[in-house]
Structures are given as C-alpha cells and as structure tokens.
C-alpha cells in the first residue's frame, strides 16, 4: 500500500494487513442512498479540545483530507462533554451533513446520536475509539487501533528491554476511560508469563504533571522500580522528568515504555532516555474518506478497520522522528 503523508507530518493511518473476519457491510444492506464524497457535506464531530497532540493531528488530518477531496466539512467539538457530543452530531445532521465522521468521547452513550443518523440514512464512521453499538446498523464501521493490542505490544517492548524481569510501575490513564482499561489489560496480559512484577499502578490521568507527581512519590516508596509503563506519552515524559530529578537515568536504570508516538517522547528515545513507544496513529483522514468512497461505490466495508501502528525504539527513533506528531 502506498504511504500517504499528511501536512501534519508522518504517514497517514493505514489498514493493517490482518483484519478480523466478519461479515462486511455493503451499502445495499443498509439501504442508504449513494453519496459521492466529492462535493458532499460531511460532518466531523471531535470529542475533546485540540489541546493534546493526538487530537490536534487527528483533526488536522481530517480537515486536510476534506480539503483535498473537495468536501464541505462541518466541524464540531464536544469539549469532553458526552451530552454535547450527542447534540453536536444531531446538529451536524440538522445542518445537512450527508456523511459523518465521529471521534467518540466514550465507547458508550452515543446511541441517541447514532439513531438520529440512522433515521436520516447517514453513514457514520467512528475513528480512534470503538463504540459498543452495532456496526453496519448503528454505525458503518470503526477505524482505529486495537488498544488491547497496543498494551500487549508495550509489554513485549518492556520484556525485550528488561529481559523479562524486574519491578514495573504502571501510570494509568484517566479512571473510567475505556482506553485506560484496554491498555492496562493488554499490558498485564502481555507480561503475565514473564518475570515482570507490577508493584504499583496509579492514575496519572493522561496528564504530564500528574504523571510526574505520581512518579516522584513512587520512586520514594519503591526505590527498586526498574521499569515504568505509561499509558500515554505525556505521563511517560512526566515520569522521565521525575526520574531524572531523583538522580536516576531513565532508559537505562529504569526502562520507560509508553503509547502514542508524540514528538516529545520519540525525541527522548533518540536522546537515549526513553525505552520505547508504541504508536497510536491519529491521522485518520485519508482512510476515513477512502472508506466512505468505497461505501458509496457499493463495496463491502469490514466491521472494524484496525490500523497498523508503528513502534519506536532506540533502533529507529532517530530516522522516524519525522513521523511522530
């Protein structure tokens, strides 16, 4: 597959080779009208403020691709408020969106919005976060990473770096968030048969300063920690700051692995004070619009389009730095 790059740098998300089997979804089964992407009114509902690199890159990618495809893009931002996202989606429909791309705030709770789209026969592509509703009926398909898989890959990186033994501290994401749940599960499953032992798991709320503060406490109470798994890069970077301040050498005495692929974290790998980062690619624009085009043509759309995420470690961080966001 040819690699598309976006203006926000780095390769766009591409579908992984291995896709989970399952019945595809042709337009004929939905009975939805054919809408040509070019010139169509497309709604994009973003879930959170573009205050973190992931969201910035995600929105940018959708906007860029929309411009490229010549669509009329309507955009809303739910400001982390679930009820607002439902309203947003309804208002997008009301304003004439014929196709929808949604970055769900949460896996659950968007049913009323999907029902409204269904009533207007508007296909919905959800990106980055999978929802619990029915694909093909409630929404068309999900494009995004497999968070459990990301956790597992982080575990593999960790095992590789530590030789499979040592004491790990986990910096959890925000409580109640299903990304946190999945990345924790994947990681714990991944280290289950190794000699790695989880000595602490505390939430850093996906926030750099909280990650730093929690890490500072953990270093004091568990001076023998040899590895840190952070469920996003921000907390990982915070942990690095804390480790350095405590006189440790992150990347050496304490291995740090996290998930995302932000520029700051990848730079730290290149600098030698970070172990590895499992990517979570936010550049969904090209794939999302491509999927909508295929749908219009009448192709079968798979239930899930899991994207292939990259990995950064000391071997490739320097040359792939441009891919980080």
């Amino acid at each position: 597959e040819s690699q598309q790059t976006t203006t926000s740098g780095g390769p766009a998300a591409s579908a992984a080779q291995q896709q989970s089997a399952g019945p595809g979804c042709p337009r004929s089964r939905t009975g939805y009208p054919q809408v040509d992407v070019k010139g169509a009114t497309v709604g994009f509902s973003q879930s959170e403020k573009e205050a973190n690199p992931f969201r910035t890159a995600e929105t940018q990618s959708i906007k860029d691709e929309a411009a490229k495809k010549g669509v009329d893009l309507l955009y809303t931002n739910a400001q982390s408020d679930l009820n607002k996202q439902i309203s947003d989606i309804k208002s997008l429909l009301d304003r004439g969106a014929k196709l929808l791309i949604v970055a769900p705030l949460n896996s659950d709770g968007l049913q009323p919005a999907f029902d409204a789209a269904k009533a207007k026969q508007v296909p919905v592509v959800t990106i980055d976060r999978k929802v619990t509703s029915q694909p093909c009926t409630d929404y068309l398909t999900f494009i995004g990473s497999d968070f459990v898989e990301q956790g597992k890959r982080a575990a593999q990186q960790m095992i590789k770096a530590t030789g499979g033994s040592g004491k790990v501290a986990i910096l959890l994401g925000a409580s109640g968030n299903n990304v946190t749940v999945d990345r924790t599960k994947g990681f714990k499953d991944g280290i289950a048969n190794s000699g790695l032992q989880v000595v602490a798991e505390q939430t850093g709320e996906f926030d750099r300063s909280k990650g730093q503060a929690v890490m500072e406490q953990l270093i004091q109470s568990n001076p023998d920690i040899t590895a840190v798994y952070a469920e996003n890069d921000e907390m990982g970077v915070g942990a690095v700051t804390a480790l350095k301040a405590a006189g440790k050498t992150p990347g050496k005495d304490v291995k740090v692995v996290s998930i995302d692929g932000t520029r700051n974290a990848v730079q730290l790998i290149a600098d030698g004070s970070y172990t590895a980062v499992v990517e979570s690619n936010p550049r969904f624009g090209p794939l999302a619009f491509e999927t909508l085009e295929k749908f219009a043509k009448g192709d079968e759309i798979p239930q899930n389009i899991v994207i292939s995420d990259d990995e950064y470690d000391s071997s490739n961080a320097q040359q792939k730095l441009g891919n980080a966001y």
């Binding site: 403020k49 573009e50 205050a51 973190n52 690199p53 910035t56 959890l172 409580s175 000595v199 602490a200 798991e201 505390q202 939430t203 926030d207 750099r208 300063s209 909280k210 730093q212 503060a213 929690v214 500072e216 406490q217 953990l218 270093i219 004091q220 109470s221 568990n222 001076p223 921000e234 970077v237 915070g238 700051t241 301040a245 405590a246 700051n264």
Partner: protein
C-alpha cells in the same frame, strides 16, 4: 461538674484551633510506622516540592476567603501564566516571568473590579474567568504543549538554595510575607474587617474597594507565581492541564487549615498546614497503591473529619 465541663470545653477549643496540626502529626506518625522509606530526605523533599505550588495559590485564596470571597479562577490564571512563558522566553527568563506575573495581576485586578466595583458575587465573578481563562490560555498557546529548554528558567524548578529547592524557599518566603501582611499591616487588618462586616467597614471609612481589588490582585499574582514555578518544574508549558482543579485543592487546604469560608479571619500557618496535610494524604494513598476509587473516598472522609474538628461552634 462545672470544672469537668470547662475542661472539656477548653479541650474542644484547643482541638478546634490546633486540629490541623494534630492531624499532620498523626499522619506523619502513621507513615513513619507503615510506609516504606518514608523517613528519607528525598521523600520530604518530594512532598515539599509538590506542595509548594498549591501553597502559593492557597495563600492568595486564604486572603480572598478572609474577605468573605472566593476565587475560582486561580487554576485558569496558572494556565494563563504557563501559556505566556514560552512567548517571552526568547527575551530571557526574567522578562517571561514578569510578563506571566503581569497577566496574573491583570486577571486578579479584573476579578477584584467585578467584585468591588460592579458588585458581582465572587463565585460568579471568578467563575467567568474559570470558564474563559483556560480557553484564552489555549488560544494564546495555540492549544499546544511547549517543551521548554531555557536552562536558567528550568533551574527554578530543579535547583536548590542552601540545600532547599528554590520553589520551596519561595513558597516559604511568601507564606511569611502573607502572614506579616495579614497580621501586621493596615491593609491586612482592613482586609479582615471587610470580611467580617463589609457594611460596617464601609461606614468606618475603610477603603473597601481598594482592599477588595488589592486582595484579588494579590491572589492573581500568587496564582501566576505558582503557574510559573509549576511550569518550570514540568519543563513544559501545558496550558491545557496546568492548575486543573487547583481552585478546589486550594479552597480545601485553606478551610481544612481553619480559615472559615464566612470571612473575617485568615489563618496563614493553618493554611500552610492544610496544604501539608492534603499533600501527605495524597502521598500516603499513592504510596500504599490504593485504587483511585478508595483513594477518593478516603480523601473525602479526611476532609470532613478535619473540618469537623476545626468547625466554629454555634
């Protein structure tokens, strides 16, 4: 009988005044006994460094609360300060810091103006800045976290003076200043009088508006200082998360420290201890690796217990 009654009364009174100190001592003892590696220099250092920014905000908050007000915008002001830093860091850390403090001063003066001159109730007046301020910070920073590299600026967050972290020294000096301000200056006594009975203070010819604007301005500047220190410690300007929910932490610390929300009284040492107590609680919960759910419930219980002991009897 009367004697025992008086003795009990004296004892409750004492506990009421000193409850927060007792709680801090109790928690320290608990940690010494049950927390691994608690009695180390590094650990105390960590607790102080983490408590410093909260303390600085809480000092300003205590003054505002003394005037029977409250400032919900402190977290947003911290974010504004954080957003300003990278814009001016090119011109040197001193310029950047001065600019950040100026913004805090302006934000505080604006709050004070709304409360004193327009006559809007403090919660609402500062709520507007809480809602809008962080947005403004994000607009200024174009919504981005910016990694900082200026070594002089970062030294603020990492270096020591006489073996004590700079931020802790600054927080300590500010605490002393605020204590002197409240107890030893005209402004401080007027502040407490305004909080105790604003109508009477007005009729007594006190410069009520000036005092109110002054207090909110001080609170704004202190929040900005805290934002600057937290930013340098983080080695990044992060307006999205800087100072999030700081208003609640600061108010909690002030009230737990024995300053009543009804105004007319400011306890500076109590506030310091309130901050230390809440810091120790958080540290204890993390060090014992309690899940978030239990941790939040325990914090709730400790807040209630501390305030229950220090409450004013009818």
């Amino acid at each position: 009988m009367t004697l025992t009654a008086t003795r009990t009364a004296t004892r409750t009174r004492w506990l009421q005044d000193n409850g927060v100190y007792v709680a801090v001592v109790a928690l320290v003892l608990f940690n010494v006994a049950f927390t691994a590696n608690f009695l180390t220099v590094g650990n105390f250092r960590t607790q102080l460094v983490q408590a410093a920014p909260v303390l600085i905000v809480a000092l300003g908050m205590a003054l505002v609360i003394g005037t029977e007000g409250v400032d919900l915008s402190v977290g947003a002001v911290m974010a504004l300060a954080a957003a300003i830093i990278p814009l001016y860091l090119g011109a040197g850390p001193l310029v950047a810091i001065m600019m950040a403090l100026t913004v805090g001063l302006a934000a505080g003066a604006f709050n004070g103006f709304l409360v004193a001159k327009v006559g809007i109730q403090p919660i609402v007046a500062t709520l507007a800045l809480l809602v809008g301020g962080r947005g403004l910070a994000l607009v200024i920073a174009d919504g981005r976290l910016v990694q900082l590299h200026d070594p002089a600026f970062l030294a603020l967050g990492t270096d020591d003076v006489l073996g004590i972290p700079i931020s802790v020294v600054i927080a300590g000096l500010l605490a002393l200043t605020v204590a002197a301000l409240t107890n030893r200056t005209t402004f401080g006594r007027q502040l407490v009088a305004v909080g105790g009975n604003r109508k009477a203070a007005t009729l007594a010819g006190l410069p009520v508006n000036r005092v109110l604007i002054g207090v909110y301005t001080i609170c704004g500047v202190l929040a900005a200082i805290s934002g600057v220190l937290a930013t340098s410690r983080l080695a990044a300007s992060d307006p999205a998360d800087m100072g999030l929910l700081m208003e609640l932490s600061a108010i909690t610390a002030v009230v737990v420290g024995g300053t009543p929300l009804t105004g007319g009284k400011v306890r500076v040492l109590g506030t310091v201890m309130g901050v230390v107590l809440m810091q120790l609680v958080r540290a204890t919960l993390i060090k014992h690796n309690l899940p978030d759910s239990i941790a939040q419930m325990i914090q709730a219980a400790i807040i209630v217990a501390a305030v229950y002991v220090a409450r004013e009897r009818r």
